[in-house]
């Protein structure tokens, strides 16, 4: 790879992000811990009866992972904004959307992928049916990148704001609702023995579109917030 070329820039960015995450690998466990807490609270809140828990298990896990991801979104740009490297990134001569795409990919790998790996375990806590387990993992594999991409656009708009947590949640909610409806919908359909391919295909289509459009939108939003 020629130094200074686009592939080298992307590789350098991804290497940097992975190194930074590795240096604080304890923090990477936070989303998992949060999702675990949310899932653990539900039986305590609605009662431990297995049938009732089984009926809502997939949806609860989806919501828990969605919320954990929302908390983790803040780390996407915050530290780089605070030390000025975000502006350097925006100023670089490489297409910003591609660089941001790489960053979002690393972010998904380090925050959402562990959650997906842990999801079947969370399912056990809520007596998730065996038939649903792999549909849920599939739905999570399709929806979590979507959540990361959509979330990145909203984080770009609120970058640098102190205490932007509540505002960020308000901004992403309308975008997350359809993803949740289709993702959890696929799991619930599988639970009832109904065909579940359609919602998964919708998620796939949305993901493909988001892969193309979201980095561009994120770059535009970042330019607006940093201007």
């Amino acid at each position: 790879m020629k130094p200074g070329s686009l592939p080298a820039a992307c590789a350098a960015l991804m290497r940097r992000d992975l190194t930074l995450v590795w240096r604080r690998r304890g923090d990477a466990l936070n989303p998992i811990l949060f999702a675990l807490i949310v899932v653990a609270l539900f039986p305590l809140g609605v009662g431990p009866e297995p049938e009732q828990l089984r009926r809502m298990s997939a949806g609860v896990i989806f919501v828990a992972i969605l919320l954990a991801g929302l908390l983790a979104l803040d780390t996407l740009f915050r530290s780089d904004y605070e030390d000025g490297s975000l502006e350097q990134l925006v100023l670089s001569r490489h297409p910003l959307s591609l660089l941001l795409g790489c960053r979002i990919a690393v972010h998904w790998l380090t925050t959402a992928l562990p959650l997906i790996i842990v999801a079947p375990l969370l399912g056990e806590l809520l007596h998730l049916a065996d038939a649903v387990r792999w549909v849920m993992v599939c739905a999570l594999l399709l929806s979590t990148p979507l959540l990361s991409l959509l979330g990145a656009v909203c984080v770009a708009l609120t970058v640098g704001m102190h205490r932007s947590g509540m505002l960020l949640a308000l901004l992403v909610l309308p975008l997350y609702v359809p993803v949740l409806i289709f993702g959890a919908g696929a799991c619930n359909a599988a639970q009832m023995g109904l065909p579940y391919a359609a919602p998964l295909l919708w998620l796939g289509a949305a993901l493909v579109m988001a892969l193309v459009v979201a980095p561009l939108a994120c770059a535009a939003a970042l330019r607006i917030s940093l201007s």
Partner: protein, 254 residues
């Protein structure tokens, strides 16, 4: 520069638009109020009872026009947001941000009156069907846009960020409109058509359409009033605003 371009730039200039809006707004409010009262007279007193819903259907005369306005306000906001982001026209930024609170108000009224209508008709205050959920999501989008606009210090940057968000959220508009066609919903399907005959009795239709016109006028009245304030804020350091501020102060003290 030809006459049209000249007219366009003149009208868009803050002091001119301030004056024009100031002259137009009271008329919009007044006419809207008049037509609204006429519509209510037609709807509450003249229109007959519905054979299925009895008198409860009369909520339609406020629920439906407000629902239409919640979508129209967003469309207006998104159009101005697009103009503001692409051509950086200051007036469009202000118009877009001014339509947001009005749209949010209409969405709120739609949800509340819909809920009050749903309880006697469907037996429930709320249901998570496609149309209600997407309208609720629309309210959240409005609140998000307002929240983002108020969170950023610099007014122009805030308007640009919020305008961007408005464009991102525009995908919800067709979802709200077509939700009754695309999904099995508890909510009634389309009755009033733009092209072709409507499935509603004439005596009920005219108050509905008149109220729709009245709410449009109210929207524009409120929009013009808010735009005036936005222009004052934007041009705060300029001479024309200073003279207005001082005149107002003298009036208040004298």
């Amino acid at each position: 520069m030809n006459a049209l371009t000249l007219w366009f730039h003149k009208t868009g200039s803050p002091p001119t638009f301030y004056r024009i809006a100031g002259a137009l707004a009271p008329w919009c409010f007044g006419l809207g109020l008049l037509l609204g009262l006429a519509a209510l007279y037609g709807g509450l007193l003249l229109a007959p009872r519905d054979y299925q819903q009895g008198d409860a259907y009369r909520i339609i005369f406020i629920h439906v026009p407000c629902a239409w306005m919640s979508l129209f306000a967003y469309f207006f906001m998104a159009a101005n947001a697009f103009i503001a982001l692409v051509w950086r026209i200051k007036l469009s930024e202000i118009l877009a941000m001014a339509s947001a609170p009005i749209g949010a108000a209409f969405t709120f009224i739609t949800l509340v009156t819909g809920s009050l209508w749903g309880k006697p008709m469907w037996g429930t205050w709320w249901t998570w069907d496609a149309r209600l959920t997407s309208e609720l999501v629309l309210l959240f989008i409005y609140l998000g846009i307002l929240g983002l606009y108020n969170a950023i210090e610099d007014r122009r940057q805030a308007a640009r960020a919020a305008a961007f968000l408005a464009l991102v959220g525009v995908v919800n508009l067709p979802i709200v409109h077509f939700s009754v066609n695309w999904w099995n919903t508890l909510h009634q399907g389309q009755t009033v058509r733009l092209m072709g005959p409507s499935k509603m009795d004439g005596a009920m239709l005219w108050p509905l359409l008149l109220m729709a016109l009245a709410t449009h006028l109210w929207f524009f009245g409120s929009l013009l009033a808010r735009t005036r304030v936005g222009l004052l804020e934007l041009d705060g350091g300029k001479e024309w605003v200073r003279s207005i501020a001082l005149a107002e102060g003298a009036r208040g003290n004298g």
